[in-house]
């Protein structure tokens, strides 16, 4: 299902994310050791082949939009979020963003199992760009949101995986970013906590923050998002409202 695509509009004053003709080519190396590379080079063998995870993707997200990014496994969704958050740089094309980004590419990245919950809140908060005073100010809110007060001074390695995710999500939603990238994490925790996460995300949306949500939960995308973008083999095959995007994805599968 190919949506008739006009050339993307120029970035305007309210554009939050501007992805322009972005391609991402990964070089799949067979070896990483200098010795083997030298051997390969001497034999004239090709060391690597390349793979386009994203192919000329253009996408503009306006401030306040909630965009659902859909696609099957390996279609390039996480790669696109990593490019937007600055973790990776595109092979060609340009990515530009307005305002502070929080990329929740994976909950709990930056948490260290040997530190206590409290220490991890500070460390992760600082990693996500918060100042010491800000973290101190929001600390109680973060802990209250995660509902793990009793274990906050326990080392994180003794947490259950749900507790761990709760705390990590709580820190992330309290970083106060203008642009929020969420990859597959709304399905964390038990039911009550999931509901709480969704409420929080909706509150963020109501505040006019920009959200890009990756999820395989199509119902959730339909409910939450104002727009849906479907990726297939690294290309945008649909960019429309959320229900139509979900339909487009179903049609390709």
């Amino acid at each position: 299902m190919q949506s008739a695509r006009t050339p993307p509009p120029q970035a305007s004053a309210t554009t939050a994310i501007d992805v322009d003709a972005v391609s991402m080519r990964f070089t799949l190396r067979h070896t990483r050791s200098l010795k083997e590379m030298a051997v390969y080079a001497l034999r004239g063998k090709d060391l690597s082949n390349s793979f386009d995870a994203l192919d000329a993707v253009s996408l503009q997200v306006q401030q306040g939009e909630t965009v659902g990014l859909l696609g099957f496994n390996g279609s390039g969704k996480s790669t696109l979020l990593k490019l937007i958050s600055g973790v990776m740089r595109p092979t060609s094309g340009s990515v530009r963003v307005r305002g502070r980004i929080a990329g929740l590419i994976e909950v709990g990245a930056g948490f260290h199992p040997d530190l206590t919950g409290r220490e991890n809140v500070y460390l992760n908060g600082a990693i996500l760009g918060m100042e010491e005073a800000t973290i101190r100010e929001r600390f109680d809110d973060i802990v209250a949101f995660s509902e793990i007060e009793r274990f906050i001074d326990t080392e994180v390695k003794h947490y259950s995986s749900g507790m761990f995710l709760r705390l990590a999500f709580a820190v992330a939603v309290h970083t106060d970013p203008e642009v929020f990238l969420i990859d597959e994490i709304l399905a964390v925790g038990d039911e009550p906590f999931q509901r709480k996460c969704l409420e929080k995300v909706e509150a963020l949306r109501a505040e006019g923050r920009t959200l890009v949500v990756v999820s395989h939960d199509l119902g959730l995308v339909e409910r939450l998002c104002t727009r849906g973008v479907v990726l297939q083999h690294g290309r945008v095959i649909a960019d429309t409202d959320a229900p139509a995007a979900v339909a487009a994805l179903r049609a390709t599968g």
Binding site: R32, V87, M88, R89, R98, R100, I101, G110, M130
Partner: protein, 301 residues
């Protein structure tokens, strides 16, 4: 808010392009947490904790002292050999730990590097700070030992030691940036650096005196070799520490075994200047190389 510089919802900016080491200076709080994390993790579940950072150099020192000072009798040629050995050794230890850890810093933090953007220079810089934390108690031990041997502080030599410290830290940061970036792409590098560090220990006048190098006939015939040897920034720092901590003690010996200024290399201050310049160059090169390779970290790790 000093956090990410482009924070204000102003212009559209390219994400993931920081200001390098300047960003590290802006995010000191995060840096301090990373340093603390590394120390905590290293000494987790250990009873002695940070005390281990005394034990290791302590044992190393004893072994060198016994083997070289007593068995090989180097102590006869170098008065106050114990102080001489230790003042050089803490410099080389600082350098090896800082550079060794910094080289692995990006790879060890792969999890973060791949998932969240933050100025990646933070990781090697945090490693250098950890080495400085370990250096502090060793310096304290040196001060006490030197004082017992008759050392009294003098302003100019102490400034020299400060310069030596700055040289080592700057050089280790610069090379650490370079090697940690390259190590993300070629894992062989960390082993290469280990090798290099082993050579560095023996190539600096820690276990012997520069005069023994100068006395080698081949070096005596080719005086540029000696200059080259002495321009090694680590050697410069070692000699500056000798000047600050060992020389005053060795001068305080009874008549007869007292040493004169000829035990210190001539032109030490010039070498210090050159060392500072070389270390600054290493820092600039390291930062530039790091920024060039940084864009590939997330996909290479």
């Amino acid at each position: 808010m000093t956090a990410p510089p482009a924070a204000a919802a102003g212009d559209l900016v390219v994400p993931g392009r920081g200001a390098g080491l300047l960003d590290v200076a802006r995010r000191r709080f995060l840096l301090s947490l990373l340093v603390r994390k590394e120390l905590r993790v290293r000494y987790r579940a250990s009873v002695l904790g940070l005390a281990w950072s005394y034990v290791k150099p302590g044992v190393q020192y004893l072994v060198y002292y016994l083997a070289l000072g007593i068995f090989l009798q180097l102590g006869r040629e170098i008065p106050d050999f114990a102080v001489y050995l230790f003042s050089g050794m803490i410099v080389v230890n600082l350098f090896s730990e800082a550079l060794g850890n910094a080289t692995r810093a990006v790879v060890n933090n792969a999890d973060l590097v791949k998932k969240i953007y933050l100025p990646r220079e933070l990781f090697p810089v945090a490693s250098v700070w950890v080495a400085i934390v370990h250096f502090a108690p060793q310096l304290l031990v040196l001060l006490v030992g030197a004082a017992i041997a008759g050392w009294r502080p003098q302003l100019l030599p102490l400034l020299g030691a400060v310069a030596g410290f700055v040289i080592v830290v700057t050089l280790a940061t610069g090379l650490g940036l370079l090697f940690s970036a390259l190590n993300a792409v070629f894992r062989d590098l960390e082993n290469l650096v280990d090798l290099l560090l082993m050579v560095a220990v023996w190539l600096s006048p820690v276990l012997y005196s520069w005069r023994q190098v100068a006395a080698v006939p081949f070096v005596a015939e080719n005086s540029w070799l000696l200059t080259l040897y002495q321009l090694n920034p680590v050697t410069v720092a070692v000699e500056l520490f000798h000047w600050a901590f060992w020389f005053p003690a060795a001068q305080n010996q009874p008549e007869g075994s007292r040493v004169g200024p000829e035990v210190l290399p001539p032109d030490l201050l010039w070498h210090a200047g050159a060392g500072l310049v070389l270390a600054a160059v290493a820092l600039a090169v390291g930062q530039a190389a790091f920024r060039r390779v940084e864009g590939r970290f997330a996909q290479e790790l």
